[in-house]
Amino acid sequence: MRRPTKKIPVGGIVDIVGNGAMAGTVADGVMIPVLILDTRDRPDIAELIRIHTVLAPGDVRFQWGLHAQDKDLVLLELAFDRPMEVQLHLCFGIEDEGILVDAAVRAQAVYLQAGKPGDRLRHNVDAPKLLAELPSTGFERDWEKAFLGRMTAVLAKSMGLPRRRARPQARELIDEMREKALFRFPQS
């Protein structure tokens, strides 16, 4: 079956300038990735995140997507309707940021924080954050395949191995990354 495609203007993609992970009472204590976004040209996103500290959570629609040509890219479209209408697209490179996508898909949530290049989570842990819940949409199956496929290709290239031999190593690498990144805090 042919997958539906959607064109996203490159200018509409918001840069992720920093990341981290936080655990809390949401998502059963699972680590949720924190994405620090470059909001210098998107004051609407910064304002939305700030307003979420005052108002009750609003509505968000989202969609994960794999790039049609570049097998390294994953896109996340977020469209907030309340309390402000804000739409943003995030782009992740699987090779470098795949673990962020993996954590978000597994935790079914992501924290967004406003910032600028150079900002790190440890600089201001208390900075306002917006929790966007991303319930299962069936993307997990596609993601699992894309993640393994891409990491296999990366390992095959870097280690000079045939893909057949690189695949189990990629599996092992992914499992190891998940173990480190997605441990669960005990709930008190």
Partner: protein
Amino acid sequence: MLVAISQEAANEWRTFAAIASASLAFLALMVSLANRRTAKKALSLSEAQEERRAARLDLSLDESVAWRADSGGGRYVGMKVTAVNASDRDGALVRADLHVTYESTAGHSHLVKIPHTGDASIPGRGESLRLPASLANNGALSGWLVFEIAPGLLGGGHASRYDAVVSDSRGLVEVVQAAVLHDIGSDAGA
């Protein structure tokens, strides 16, 4: 002689046929004109029926006020609206939001949507409308929509416009703008 008679008869017959066909055509024209008039009447009647059946919601603003909560809460905006359902279908008001357009301290313009508070009291004016509220066909409903602007919501920004946006169960959305908010003090003044 015989040929001359038959030619005359043929000419007469041709004239008769021409007159008969012209008469028939005229008759058909008359019938079609009459049909057209009937069809137009039927169409306008069905259009009028359809219009009465079509979902419609008219919203008007009767009064708009603002006050501060004594309990240290934020500022409240109250808008008394009248909703008229000028159609033959029942409906219900299901949601109301206040769209506040404001300018942040950094100079950027934003719009925030604040939901209606269904259990608020308007100082000296009664209770807020509880949503959803049914709206019978060809009926009307009047009540207060109340919105809380929580402390710090506008982040020190300046509000420039207040619009109440009301949605009904038939998918209609109507907007009324409050140009002036009359300050009615605080909860204690009620």
